[in-house]
Symmetry: C2
Subunit: 329 residues, 2 copies
DNA sequence: AGGAATCGATGAAACGTTTCATGAATTTCA
DNA sequence: TGAAATTCATGAAACGTTTCATCGATTCCT
């Protein structure tokens, strides 16, 4: 059962170098140590191939240099992108990531928070659509795209601005009547503001609009019905479409194609997230790009700054429009 | 510097329950304990909200219930898919994942292996194209797609079979002259067999073929030149194309489009990996699908079986063809 | 009924580290 | 030059857990 005895310990190094245990510790941690001692210790470390043991340190200091990231999965490319940037940001600061896939399941989320506690992580970053998420006490906690209360910092893109931007672009591109589509109308979170921004701009711009939002659990079929309902003689009732996420936009475009409606010739589509298929220059979909890297950096630096005094409770980062193949030049 | 004192310990629980420390341990670990004691202990655990401390356990047992996964990134959707399935497979077995992004950099890989050692991970799974990767001693190590030696188990898709399958499909689809393209011709690894399989089948099927493989560091431009060289009057010299990865296939298709060559009308393209854009039913690209979930399951169960006696040194899992939009029905 | 065997709780040691009070050695200052 | 101040290595305690030898209590057998 027990693993074979692992490598040399600080005590071994101390013996080899002929110094005290505490001295080895101070050398390893880069603290002030006399030149001669430092050299002897380093020599012994080389000699023995010493690698320090994280568990011992964690036990003593109660710090693990680990952050838990709770996110639905990495199959959605936007989540995968976030995971990528967050991990890189953590690594730069010598932190490790404990990755937890919620699969949109709140029981799993709760379980992961418990597990994060057990593992004494130094903080948690969560991207959750669960409105009843229980924020644990005593652990720095940062959310993405979901504002809970002013005591739980939230990092999000400028969703409202992004929504506006989409409307402005569609207008610029010559659309005369537009529609908005999204999934998940029951919870109100930061991404909901995409709709608000879009509509506010449509009103300002005098751009007629329709909208459809799917309740949780409603099948995709509802979108199809909406599309059919708004189609006459193979023409959609609108010539511009803004969709809440790239993922959904992609699905809808597939459906439109099957209905014989051409994108972007018949209808121009703008998504949200900024997915680039394989690190492509130009996105497949025209889209509102979330600044994934900045979001990641911000989350990480906020969660690591701990429960410091004046962390802002909502950080809002700028978005940009990127033209892809689903709008006309 | 020190974190606020964390929760109650086993000693606290023992005191509360009026039992010995060791008894608490045995209850927590689900070992044989008298009914009355178990109840008292569980009550005390509830009472105090006790959460056991992973570091203490790890220190004592030298097991961390953590596996390191070394992989280039999660931006490539295939890698993201593997990360997803590996994490799920680990979680099912109550293991955590320490995720390390190599970014194709061998110094980073070496550093991560050192770090994995420090963290006393119970095993390492690596997807690396580095031919000189230093396999650490004394830690269960499993590779994906790269065979080192019979002492280092490797899990891979049936790359040879996949290559053959691509040729067979192209023939079936009516192609009369085909080509193969890939990146990274200097290293020989499991994915190299995609070419071997493809060519072997082309020969058998009497299907004329060309090929181009880019050396490490050669720019994508070389592909473009090859394409131009093989184009006359806006027609490619071949009508079927097999590309080593979906990612590269995607790029090449973009280029072909820019050259005014239509896919699949002028040339049919088959990629490799099995990327589905957003969990789509039908892949965007016609592709040879790697069984990502089985690969993940296999890696995990092999790495966790430790340095057991008879682990096979190369596990080869079946692939399948999936038709997407880049071949004719 | 009495000794052996079984069962199961106990308490202490050990894992590898950090940290802190101690004290030796050196430097500083009058 | 001598006392005070400073520097810096030392060694032990502590972190929370698992594990093992010990021992008391119960059951089993003759």
């Amino acid at each position: 059962m027990a693993k074979e005895r692992s490598g040399p310990t600080m005590a071994d190094v101390a013996r080899e170098a002929g110094v005290a245990l505490g001295t080895v510790s101070r050398v390893v941690n880069g603290e002030q140590v006399g030149e001669e001692f430092r050299e002897k210790v380093n020599a012994a470390i080389q000699q023995l191939g010493y690698q320090y043991n994280t568990s011992g340190r964690a036990l003593r200091t109660d710090r693990t240099n680990t952050i838990a990231l709770i996110i639905p999965n990495t199959i959605n490319p936007y989540f995968a992108l976030l995971v990528n940037h967050i991990n890189i940001a953590l690594e730069k600061r010598n932190y490790r990531m404990m990755l937890c896939f919620s699969e949109y399941d709140r029981d799993r989320e709760a379980e992961f928070i418990r597990m994060a506690r057990q593992n004494r992580v130094d903080g948690i970053i969560a991207l959750s659509y669960n409105p009843r998420l229980e924020i644990p006490e005593g652990i720095p906690f940062v959310t993405i795209d979901r504002f809970f209360s002013s005591s739980v910092p939230c990092v999000a893109a400028d969703n409202f601005g992004g929504g506006r931007l989409a409307a402005v672009k569609l207008k610029e591109l010559g659309c005369t009547r537009v529609a908005f589509m999204r999934i998940g109308s029951t919870i109100t979170n930061e991404p909901s503001k995409r709709r608000d921004g879009f509509i506010s701009a449509c009103v300002e711009l005098n751009l007629p609009f329709d909208q459809i939002a799917l309740e949780d659990g409603q099948p995709y079929e509802e979108f199809v019905k909406f599309l059919i309902r708004n189609t006459a003689k193979g023409k959609l009732a609108f010539d511009g479409l803004f969709v809440g996420t790239d993922s959904l936009a992609w699905q809808i475009i597939q459906t439109l194609k099957q209905m014989g409606i051409r994108v972007p010739e018949d209808v121009q589509v703008i998504g949200f997230d900024g997915i680039r298929m394989f690190g492509d220059q130009e996105p497949v979909l025209s889209t509102i790009v979330q600044p994934a890297q900045e979001i990641a950096e911000t989350c990480v630096s906020m969660v690591l700054s701990g429960h410091m005094s004046n962390v802002p409770s909502l950080v809002c980062l700028p978005v940009a429009y990127a033209a892809g193949g689903t709008t006309r030049e």
